[in-house]
Symmetry: C2
Subunit: 300 residues, 2 copies
């Protein structure tokens, strides 16, 4: 049995006329006869009762018509799904996400993706601070949202947002009333930060910049798990430490015992970018990237 057989059967059943059925199928009438006869032979059942003047469904034909239609419906469904997969309006995109992004960014991005392609299943997976998740993890990811920018052959990327790092200060602290702080003024203050081992390059870059701006005596460092922004900020709120943070991270922190101050003399910006393999991208990924870039343009 074949889809061709079923299609032929269904159309003849609808027309009850071999000639018209043939016209609808864009084939000649004898082909229709042959196909129906072939199906009847294979099933061992008469599907139609033909007089030379009228064609009628047999009871068996009536019973099988529904089944045949459901097969064809499923086939159409399959083709439709293939179409959507091809166009990128359906599918699955695996997104690698680094922790410690601006707190609302991921949900914003997911909303953008959902709006652009509701039937695309976006699976965001938090990865450690891997230099290049796209190629590094056996290519299991289609898209990556990272801090910094990837420099690798075949990898395209776009900056999603860039936000300056400042200092989270307890409301009771002597610096809390300032407009901004200098690097040097952090001297001797206890700091809450992620452990150096979690992202040595980032860690060293930050303190190199601060040192260059005059911070020579770094105070004690309270380590919190990477990505655990709240843990650091609770220490700050308790007056136990200062912490390098994004303004949005402080804003998102519920309790109000913390003040965010920009640096006056150094620029510690966090750049968040999206990256994907430029050569091999699934249609769904391509569509998400397009949605992302048009969202960025529109937001200027």
């Amino acid at each position: 049995m074949d889809i061709r057989h079923l299609k032929c059967f269904v159309v003849v059943a609808e027309e009850l006329h071999f000639g018209r059925a043939a016209a609808r199928l864009h084939i000649a009438q004898p082909a229709v006869s042959q196909t129906v006869i072939g199906l009847e032979r294979e099933l061992g059942l008469a599907l139609f009762e033909r007089t030379n003047r009228r064609v009628e469904l047999t009871d068996a034909g009536r019973a099988l018509l529904g089944e045949a239609r459901s097969v064809l419906d499923r086939v159409d469904g399959t083709l439709a799904l293939a179409e959507r997969l091809r166009l990128g309006t359906a599918g699955r995109v695996n997104v690698a996400v680094t922790p410690a992004l601006p707190p609302t960014l991921l949900t914003e991005l997911l909303a953008v993706f959902r709006a652009a392609a509701p039937d695309v299943k976006v699976v965001a997976k938090s990865v450690g601070d891997i230099p290049d998740p796209l190629t590094g993890l056996g290519g299991r990811f289609d898209l990556a949202i990272l801090r910094g920018q990837i420099q690798a052959p075949g990898i395209a990327s776009v900056v999603v947002v860039t936000e300056p790092v400042g200092v989270a200060v307890p409301a009771s602290h002597r610096l809390a009333s300032s407009e901004s702080v200098s690097a040097r003024s952090l001297g001797g203050e206890p700091l809450a930060a992620f452990p150096r081992g979690a992202a040595p390059a980032e860690f060293d870059r930050i303190f190199a910049v601060l040192a260059a701006a005059g911070l020579d005596d770094v105070g004690e460092i309270h380590e919190s798990p990477p990505g655990a922004v709240d843990a650091s900020l609770r220490l700050v709120a308790a007056g136990e430490a200062l912490s390098l943070k994004l303004r949005s991270e402080v804003d998102a922190f519920g309790s109000s015992g913390v003040v965010w101050l920009p640096f006056a003399d150094v620029d510690l910006s966090v750049v968040v970018s999206a990256a994907w393999r430029f050569d091999v991208t699934s249609p769904a990924t391509r569509r998400l990237v397009d949605a992302l870039s048009s969202w960025l343009n529109q937001r200027t």
Copy 2:
């Protein structure tokens, strides 16, 4: 796209190995490659990611696998239904039924049919007293349950039950205490009966037999619609008339003001038979007929 394509796709997806898939499909390996490639071309999607050492489903392949399986399931369902239709364990049988059968007979027969073939839809339709519903109504019926026996070429029949006609008498009537009645003793009594026009041959046969046995002055006749046994019996219960009835009809009549008496001198038996076209019978009809005859044999 073709069922062959889908089957091939599903098997390869299950085996993740073209050679083994070919073995399961009982074809050579290149045919499997060609078929899968053909499907991928048609859909415009890569379904598998092949290294020479490993075969994996792509995301698109994973998404389509379920669809493909559901198509194949429906196809299997269709073939299974065809099989059952061929064997007669599924289908539809149109049964022509004459009114005025013994009251419980039809439900008994339907129960027998249901037990023999639960998935066969038995549609009983009451027809007037047509001499031969099998051929007379454009052959729309597969089976007929009738009074009397059909004598027609190509029609097979079997007697289902035969039951004597007696007289339903009001409990207060002078005859009510008799063991039986003679034809002559009905002389002058008002009778409740179906109108002669409903079945002239039957009507005339009955009264000819009664006349031959000595009934020469038939009383007034109250007509009830054919098949309206209760209407006649209510007249009897009210003492307004006698009525020719089957014992089972009187037994089935709820109220108890009616007595059934057999005839002492005439034999007015109702024969109920099932009839079907001997040459063209659908498998389901054949199965029901078989069930009926084995039920009759077993009931001896």
